[in-house]
């Protein structure tokens, strides 16, 4: 199967944006991925060995958290597992620091 590596984690996977892995299920695929690239482990898993809350795993177009077998879900060679950190935010409670516009338009 193919595991896609998001931009922030490529530095820990020899710069690769995807890695081919042979595995029986999602958990096994992640184990093999982190065995090949150990530095990925602390970015994907918390201290308890669970996938970090902000790390989303998609097996093809399905969120692994909502698959019946979750990380025990079987995979085959044609499957793609996407690792996607979450993206969110919002405006209230602005940080207490100088507000310094950085845009330098070449207008």
């Amino acid at each position: 199967m193919t595991i896609t590596i998001p931009t922030p984690l490529r530095v820990y996977a020899d710069g690769r944006n995807a890695v081919e892995i042979e595995a029986a299920n999602v958990a096994s695929a992640l184990d093999k991925l982190t065995a090949s690239y150990p530095d990925l482990r602390k970015h994907l898993f918390n201290g308890d060995g669970k996938v970090r809350a902000f790390v989303n795993l998609y097996l093809n177009d399905e969120d692994v958290r909502y698959l019946p077998a979750r990380e025990a879900s079987p995979v085959n060679a044609e499957d793609t597992l996407s690792i996607i950190p979450s993206i969110a935010g919002g405006s209230p409670g602005l940080a207490v620091q100088a507000i310094a516009p950085s845009a330098q338009s070449l207008r």
Binding site: P8, D61, G89, G90, P92, L94, A95
Partner: protein
């Protein structure tokens, strides 16, 4: 200081998006390529804000949409260089919420202040550091180029 280079078209597009969604926050992804000193952004992709419960001061991009965006980027030979969103009637400065929810280390987070419906200041911040524990926002030097950037070697 790292540099975020964007075309005039991208710059105008993300600001226009913020005006269109005002008084709600807009959000989207920036696609580009890594350059020696930062990112060269070639396209902005609009995304839906799933925080419909509090869209005036929160945004979230559905992971499934992110998967599709990244898949599209790969097909174009591009990477996700960062993300953009708007702050309706708030400064173009990262907030504690922005920081807590930022996990794309090495990517740029572009914020546009939309004041009374009109795009005002646009800033960019690089999520620097190596881990969740050491991450920090650092200001980017944002350069808006009038001509199409083009890909190196193209």
């Amino acid at each position: 200081m790292s540099v975020l280079r964007v075309t005039r078209a991208v710059y105008d597009a993300i600001r226009a998006h913020g005006e269109e969604t005002y008084p709600h926050e807009c959000c989207g992804a920036l696609l580009g390529q890594s350059s020696g000193d930062g990112w060269r952004v070639e396209a902005a992709v609009r995304a839906g804000n799933t925080r419909t419960d509090s869209a005036h001061n929160r945004y979230r991009i559905a992971p499934a949409e992110l998967v599709r965006i990244e898949r599209g980027a790969r097909q174009q030979g591009l990477e996700i260089a960062g993300f953009y969103h708007s702050h309706p009637d708030h400064p173009a400065q990262w907030s504690p919420t922005d920081f807590a929810e930022a996990h794309w280390i090495g990517c740029s987070y572009v914020i546009t202040e939309v004041a009374k419906g009109k795009a005002a200041v646009t800033n960019s911040f690089r999520l620097a550091g190596e881990t969740e524990e050491t991450k920090r926002f650092e200001p980017d030097t944002m350069v808006v180029e009038e001509e199409s950037i083009g890909r190196p070697g193209a």
